[in-house]
């Protein structure tokens, strides 16, 4: 029997490092040599992770990778959270890479669809963040990871600052599987404020010619919040948060949920709910949460990433946020999404389309956008075993009248106006996701949140509590009953809807004691970005594009 070799991966790593030594000495590499270095360490067909999420991006390393010689480096298999930059697309256009496993491609959704049509990209699968991170440790460990940090010291220790995000996960999966980790930083310094990634997990560091990109993705200008959104936010606070004692929660990004955040110090306070709801959050530091924090609603916030402009505010509120010994925030997307899935009682978010079964999707026909984190946050955690009042109450409602083993339920709420801009109905007979599946040969329609995970649907018409529905027909009618004047809503039977209303499955604003007349912008704790700055005592420094005063 031939003796099996057990160290081929480590030997391969050594060979790569030897080739790297032909173009650079030591760990710190001048940025002009980076393309040459990447060419040396890569081999055709490698799995490569190019760090970037919807916030920070290893943009310099992405440009370097896009410049390698496709005769030498080709058929790469990219395994990365997002496809967000033009240089990501170039990799496929130039034949450097031909396959991708990813989570989200919002900004490049249209070009992704084009690459698929041109047969220049093979999509392995579209994942949630946690799923893709999971696969980094099972069947998709990266051979080479190109990552991004704020600064490094001469040893190669890295400081990520508030936007740690995906970095620890990517480095862990690469460095401990004989891969190679290359980091771009904004600056190399004598002493780091703190160490987020230890030097012996990092092979090469370069000081990028420009600071890395950082998107203020979670900033919503209160000036754009509508009265309909305020009305829906009032219903959520009174009809869901108060009734279920929701204290541990996650909000999606959007104006609907920003409205809820801005009604906590006003409307929720007037209902005597301070200290009773919304205490522990999994959330990026949304600027619109500042008034609720200052008003004493919020005890803690753990974040997947930070938010541009919020750094000093977060630093000044260490009792609320998770901050390092240097005082600045530490974030971690993997831990946050685990927390959102298992430790939160409620997720609320918006969607572009919902069908009669309650399935929802953000797919439109010409864009491949992906999932991000919402499916993990907006799903009942079947593995959850600890109880809380909200989880138990939702479970009781879902099971009342049934003979079954008692268990809890997560509250998963979809909030949307029945028509979007330009009179696009949010409730549809058939999701565009089906046509996307047929066009691209996916095995399943890309559904963001499945109907059977949804507990409540909130529109301007009221709240449909799907937990209380006992048959598919009843669920369909409950959804029709809040679908307004969309074709699905117009197809309702008034007597059936009134019956559901009597049973509390559908509740109108008047059933909830929500006064429509109060739904004005005067109810918002802040009506502009400037007022958010004021609430923060000047600590919040909004990016230029949000400064309109």
């Amino acid at each position: 029997m031939a003796t099996r070799k057990w160290h081929t991966q480590a030997e391969n790593r050594r060979a790569r490092l030897l080739r790297a030594a032909e173009v650079c000495e030591g760990k710190i590499v001048p940025c002009e040599r980076m393309t040459a270095l990447i060419e040396k360490v890569l081999e055709p067909g490698d799995r490569v992770c190019l760090e970037g999420n919807n916030q920070k991006q290893a943009d310099f390393l992405a440009r370097c990778l896009a410049q390698v010689d496709p005769q030498r480096v080709y058929d790469l298999h990219m395994v990365q959270s997002v496809i967000a930059l033009p240089s990501h697309i170039e990799l496929f256009e130039r034949g450097i890479a031909n396959k991708v496993d990813f989570s989200y491609s919002g900004p490049m959704g249209t070009r992704m669809a084009q690459l698929v049509a041109d047969d220049k990209i093979k999509i392995g699968a579209i994942h949630t963040y946690l799923e893709l991170f999971g696969r980094y440790f099972i069947d998709l460990p990266p051979k080479v990871s190109l990552i991004v940090a704020h600064s490094a010291d001469s040893q190669g220790n890295l400081y990520t600052g508030p936007n740690t995000e995906d970095t620890p996960t990517i480095v862990e999966a690469t460095a401990f599987k004989s891969g190679i980790v290359i980091a771009q930083v904004n600056q190399i310094v004598e002493d780091l404020p703190r160490v987020d990634i230890p030097a012996d997990w990092v092979d090469f560091v370069t000081e990028a010619p420009t600071p890395h990109l950082l998107e203020p993705l979670f900033t919503r200008d209160p000036a754009q919040i509508s009265e309909i959104q305020i009305l829906m936010a009032m219903m959520v606070i009174k009809g869901i948060y108060a009734e279920y004692d929701v204290n541990r929660l996650n909000h999606g990004v959007g104006f609907n949920t920003a409205a809820i955040e801005l009604l906590l110090p006003t409307y929720a306070d007037s209902l005597g709910l301070k200290g009773k709801i919304c205490r522990n959050w999994m959330l990026n530091p949304h600027p619109t949460l500042i008034p609720a924090i200052e008003a004493g609603f919020v005890e803690s916030v753990y974040s997947p990433g930070s938010e541009l402009g919020m750094e000093d505010y977060v630093r000044a509120r260490p009792d609320v946020f998770f901050n390092g010994s240097d005082g600045s925030q530490r974030t971690n997307r993997a831990f946050s999404h685990a927390a959102g899935h298992y430790a939160c009682d409620l997720f609320i978010g918006s969607s572009l389309q919902m069908d009669l079964q309650g399935n929802s999707s953000t797919v439109t026909l010409d864009r491949i956008t992906g999932f991000g984190g919402a499916p993990n946050l907006g799903a009942d955690a079947r593995g959850r075993r600890h109880a809380s009042p909200a989880w138990l109450k939702a479970g009781r409602e879902a099971q009342s009248g049934l003979t079954t083993t008692p268990r809890g339920r997560k509250l998963v709420v979809q909030i949307m106006e029945t028509y979007r801009e330009h009179m696009q109905p949010a409730f549809v007979e058939r999701l565009d996701a089906w046509e996307m599946m047929e066009k691209t040969g996916m095995e399943l329609p890309p559904i963001m949140v499945y109907g059977d995970d949804i507990s409540h649907v909130v529109t301007e018409e009221g709240i449909a509590n799907l937990l209380l529905c006992r048959t598919d027909e009843e669920r369909n009618e409950a959804i029709r009953g809040v679908a307004g004047y969309t074709p699905l809503g117009l197809g309702r039977s008034h007597s059936v809807v009134e019956n559901l209303r009597d049973r509390g499955i559908i509740r109108r604003p008047e059933d909830l004691g929500v006064d429509r007349r109060m739904a004005t912008r005067d109810l918002l704790a802040a009506r502009s970005v400037k007022e958010l700055v004021h609430w923060s005592g000047g600590l919040y420094q909004p990016p230029k594009r949000f400064r309109n005063w």
Partner: protein, 105 residues
């Protein structure tokens, strides 16, 4: 612009004050509503000027529900719509009606 006209017959139970003339929600973003007392032989007439073409059926459904909610007679309602969603239309109409009914008492 598309111009639509709808008429509804009230039950005649709701008293209207002939002195009240003009109330409404104006300059409120993408929708303006004006209410006037006019002798329409017991009818409520709603005129809609809208920048969004082809939504007559949705207007009909929204205004059917509105008319049923308030049971109106001898009232002329003018709506100037800049592409508001049905949710906004309903909210503005309710706000205008509240103002109108308050002016009556």
């Amino acid at each position: 612009m598309e111009h639509l006209e709808f008429e509804f017959k009230g039950s005649g139970n709701r008293q209207v004050d002939r002195q009240a003339t003009l109330v409404g929600v104006v300059s409120s973003g993408n929708l303006e509503v004006m209410l006037e007392n006019v002798d329409l032989h017991g009818l409520c007439r709603i005129n809609v000027s809208t920048s969004a073409q082809g939504f007559t059926e949705i207007w009909q459904a929204v205004l059917n529900d509105f008319a049923a909610r308030y049971d109106l007679a001898d009232l002329q309602i003018s709506i100037n719509d800049g592409g508001a969603t049905p949710a906004v239309v309903c909210l503005r109409l309710d706000q205008a009606m509240e103002e109108y009914l308050e002016a009556l008492t």
